[in-house]
């Protein structure tokens, strides 16, 4: 149960840190590196508040051992915008009131961006009607199903779906670029 020196790319920056090898990626981000934008809501993969992007895919960072993610490119909420400008989805969350307390919000944002990429790659969900279609027909039900791993106790779900619907196209363009 010793410490180890670990290397990551976080929000485009190389990071070297010595940490307990038992550390989850979530605790490493929050406690060792000060990326407190990523939130802990259950520490057992049930709430999605800790969602981050690893090489563009969304994961629950509480269920990820940090040592296993060395050398990978990790994006947290702090890395979504650029040069002080909000990511279009962040802006849409503000406009559509896609949060109240704001605690689940970083996870919702990262999850939605990862989800946009999954749709772009034509990965079906349990509610996808036509599995042989060339592209997933995105409707509200698809978005709600795919975002159901991110709990919001304040109940901002409708604003979240509105914000995602409005920006889904932009997010997919971003993913292709």
């Amino acid at each position: 149960m010793g410490n180890a020196l670990m290397n990551f790319t976080i929000n485009g920056q190389s990071v070297e840190v010595e940490a307990d090898i038992r550390s989850s990626l979530l605790d490493l981000l929050r406690n060792s590196l000060g990326f407190t934008g990523t939130k802990k809501g259950c520490d057992q993969g049930a709430c999605g508040a800790c969602t981050v992007l690893v090489d563009g895919e969304r994961i629950n960072s509480c269920l990820a051992l940090a040592v296993q993610y060395q050398g990978r490119s990790i994006t947290t909420v702090e890395g979504l915008g650029s040069d002080g400008t909000l990511h279009p989805l962040q802006q849409a969350f503000v406009e559509h009131d896609g949060f109240q307390c704001g605690y689940c919000t970083p996870g919702q944002l990262c999850s939605a961006i990862g989800m946009a990429r999954e749709i772009e790659r034509n990965i079906p969900s349990v509610v996808t009607a036509d599995l042989s279609a060339d592209s997933v027909a995105v409707d509200e039900t698809e978005l709600r199903e795919r975002m159901s791993g991110n709990l919001c106790r304040c109940g901002a779900y409708n604003g979240i779906v509105e914000a995602i619907s409005e920006t889904l196209g932009k997010m997919q363009e971003g993913a292709r670029a």
Binding site: S23, C101, G102, T105, Y157
Partner: protein
């Protein structure tokens, strides 16, 4: 230089609750001032979406150590052995604190027992070997990292001498207890002979309704970062009662009140749960013992073990009606589980005290004590579960009478408060029903159940009344600071847990003082600010309003003094003027005006600071003040699996003036969504043999997820309450009220089955 009001003075133009209206209600142009009611986005929104809003567990300290808890595994008895040696020897451990070495601390006092009491329970915290509930903390481990603390806490072992414990509700209810009062109200209300009238009534409904325990389950885990500097205590908390927490901690640790500073700028959801529980007290004690700052963040299991939730209820509602739908008898009685050490009786009879006219009334509630974690207030305590019973019974009565449920409510709409006899300050329930019904398409509801079908899915509609009382807490103060540059800062130690407090108050202050939104800052969330009220019971907005009105009066009087004889305002008093356009003007003479900046400049002042305390809430004594709503639900129920899906929802509210269309709509929707959880999925399960919660995780306690939530439409009357500051009644709780019944009534309309036992799970419909 500060100016303070003389709270007892009564001057012309001053807001006198229950006598005069908030001047903002008659202020020229306030209705369309552009600030009040507009859908302004949350001012802290950009910080939150960037992860820059700092929550309680996110404040760095040099030498910080991390805490983890070990919990008892029996409900009642004594600790006979407590082995901490392995934990103490584990890597990184700073210390292990138990009742043997914890600092001596006074027990918390029960909330509402004194002006500084904040205890959810009055049991001493880690002071003796006594165990009072299954899950009580028995040890705190501090270590250099969270991993080390968590591991070491797992090494703590305990032996117990158990004592008999009441852990089953069926056992507890054999010895019910009648409280002296229910939150200051009589536990029993009787008008006429309701039981007799029920027996003689032409149409009767007499049913038992059951609601289970619930947990708030805010997504932010309860957390605190605490640090001592000498005898000064600094607490970064996740709190909805800052000043009470500071006062209570001072009392527990024997400190002067001004030695404790608690702040909580962001709270990751509260709903009644982010109050003072054992974890903050234990963190402060352990930090004192270690001589180091401590961060404690409960695990989700830890939240279930030591933070209480809503208790279970069993309610009887009996209605006796004449054939034309007038109530001869209205009976609402029942029992709620409680512990001997808390002050939360779950006031489920409260909605019935104010909603409907009846010739005779009997309301009574009792409690049954159990040896369990103290239950507490959770969103709309009382009304959330009380409206489930009452509004299901009303629906059952409408069915028996062959009346539309809205028409029945029209016939039992009272002219004055049915139990207190007081006039209503403002009540537009039927209006809310009519607008909601039209918008929802209520006329498409079939009168008889099981008439609409889409394949395996039976479709039904239901409605129910929402209600929650208006309260304004006394004791809150506000400070207004005006700079020479025209910037206004209003400060009070209140809370924004996502309700939109700061945003709505910026709008309110801009409208009240006649300045642009951009010139206003609202400071909150820190006990160094003027004393604030708690964020609970939908009271905060009105309470802040009362304090800001009082501070504004002092502010205007001070400015009139400073303006002196060379001003167009010379000779005018508070009653003659209004604030507008960044200054003060004569109410009826547009020409007599001077800007704030000009007044300060001529007086040679760099700033003006005024502070005042809100006048006592006399309006609550004189009037029956409540918010109302009509909840409309459409469900689809699978005839094969019994699965219930809420397919449409509409809430039509009468909650006074709405201060921000965007955030208010979100708050109403959030309440409705928590109500969908109450209706369909949420239940905290205690093992009746051991008193231990068996579903202490978000995997096993089912809060609504994105897929459980349909499109929700919100309507509101926006009719200002003439007795309330800003004309606004609170809106935090009302959204959840009536939802359980609206869903259950829709399930009945779809299936013909009455489910009177929440949650409405699949098995109950098979």
């Amino acid at each position: 230089m500060s100016a303070h009001s003389d709270a007892a003075a009564s001057r012309p133009g001053r807001w006198q609750p229950a006598v005069t209206q908030d001047p903002l209600l008659r202020k020229h142009g306030a209705q369309g001032s552009g600030a009040l009611g507009q859908p302004v986005s949350r001012i802290e929104g950009p910080l939150k979406v960037q992860g820059k809003a700092r929550f309680a567990a996110e404040f760095p300290y040099e030498g910080l150590c991390y805490a983890a808890l070990a919990f008892s595994t029996i409900p009642r008895g004594r600790i006979t052995a407590l082995d901490t040696a392995a934990a103490e020897a584990a890597p990184g451990v700073v210390l292990v604190m138990t009742h043997r070495n914890a600092p001596r601390m006074k027990a918390p006092s029960l909330m509402m027992s004194s002006p500084t009491a904040a205890g959810a329970s009055d049991l001493p915290v880690m002071q003796t070997d006594e165990i009072h509930w299954n899950g009580q903390p028995i040890a705190v481990v501090l270590a250099e990292t969270q991993e080390q603390a968590d591991y070491a806490a797992s090494l703590v072992t305990a032996g117990y001498a158990p004592l008999p414990a009441v852990t089953s509700f069926d056992e507890a209810r054999k010895t019910p207890r009648q409280l002296d009062n229910i939150l200051g109200q009589p536990p029993v209300v009787e008008i006429g002979d309701a039981e007799g009238a029920l027996k003689g009534a032409a149409v009767q409904v007499d049913q038992i309704y059951r609601t289970p325990r619930h947990n708030h389950n805010a997504i932010e885990l309860h957390a605190a970062t605490v640090a001592w500097t000498g005898d000064e205590l600094r607490v970064h908390d996740a709190s909805q009662l800052l000043d009470l927490t500071a006062g209570q901690l001072a009392d527990i640790f024997g400190l002067e009140a001004d030695k404790v500073r608690v702040s909580s700028p962001y709270v990751g959801g509260g709903f009644g749960g982010k109050c003072l529980w054992d974890h903050q007290i234990l963190a402060c004690a352990a930090a004192k013992l270690a001589g180091r700052p401590v961060r404690i963040m409960l695990s989700r299991e830890g939240v279930f073990r030591i933070v209480g939730g809503r208790t279970l209820t069993e309610q009887r509602v009996a209605l006796g009606a004449s054939a034309d739908g007038r109530l001869d008898a209205l009976i609402h009685t029942g029992i709620a589980a409680m512990t001997a050490h808390n002050s939360c009786p779950e006031q489920f009879t409260f909605p019935t005290r104010h909603l409907y006219a009846a010739k005779s009334v009997r309301l009574a509630q009792e409690v049954a004590d159990m040896d369990m974690l103290a239950n507490t207030f959770m969103r709309a305590p009382g009304e959330s579960v009380g409206t489930f019973a009452l509004e299901c019974a009303i629906d059952e009565l409408a069915d028996k009478l062959g009346l539309d449920p809205i028409e029945l409510r029209r016939r039992i709409e009272p002219e004055k408060d049915p139990t207190s006899g007081k006039p209503f300050s403002s009540r537009h329930l039927i209006d809310a029903y009519e607008k909601g019904a039209e918008r929802f398409g209520w006329e498409r509801r079939s009168k008889a159940p099981r008439q609409r079908r889409d394949g395996e899915w039976l479709i039904g509609m239901g409605c129910a009344t929402a209600t929650y009382p208006y309260h304004r807490f006394p004791g809150g103060a506000a400070r207004i600071r005006l700079t020479a540059g025209g910037q206004v800062t209003v400060s009070t130690a209140v809370h924004d847990m996502g309700m939109g407090t700061a945003t709505a108050q910026v709008q309110h202050i801009a409208a009240r003082l006649g300045v642009p939104l951009d010139n206003v800052t609202f400071e909150y969330g820190d006990t160094t600010l003027p004393r604030g009220v708690i964020a609970g019971g939908s009271t905060q907005t009105a309470s802040i309003g009362g304090a800001v009105i009082a501070a504004t009066e002092v502010f205007v009087e001070e400015l009139l003094k400073l303006a002196g004889n060379d001003s167009p305002l010379a000779g005018l008093s508070l009653a003659d003027v209004e604030t507008r356009d960044g200054g003060i003007g004569h109410r009826d003479d547009a020409a007599r005006f001077e800007s704030y900046e000009s007044i300060l400049r001529r007086a040679g002042r760099g700033e003006l600071v005024c502070e005042a305390e809100a006048p006592p809430p006399a309006e609550m004594e004189a009037f029956s003040m409540h918010s109302y709503g009509a909840q409309f639900c459409e469900v689809r129920v699978s005839e094969i699996t019994g699965e219930v899906r809420v397919s449409r929802f509409l809430g039509s509210f009468d909650a006074g003036r709405i201060l921000n269309a965007k955030t208010a709509t979100s708050q109403f929707k959030g309440g409705i969504i928590m109500g969908i959880g109450l209706a369909l999925t949420e239940e905290t399960n205690f093992d009746p043999r051991t008193g231990r919660i068996v579903n202490a995780s978000l995997a096993d306690y089912h809060v609504p997820v994105q897929m459980d939530v349909p499109a929700i439409e919100i309507l509101y009357t926006d009719i200002p309450d003439p007795q309330a500051p800003m004309g606004a009644r609170g809106i935090g709780e009302i959204g959840i009220t009536g939802v359980g019944a609206a869903v259950a009534n829709a399930v009945y309309n779809a299936t013909g089955k009455r489910i009177r036992d929440l949650p409405i799970t699949l098995d109950k419909l098979m």
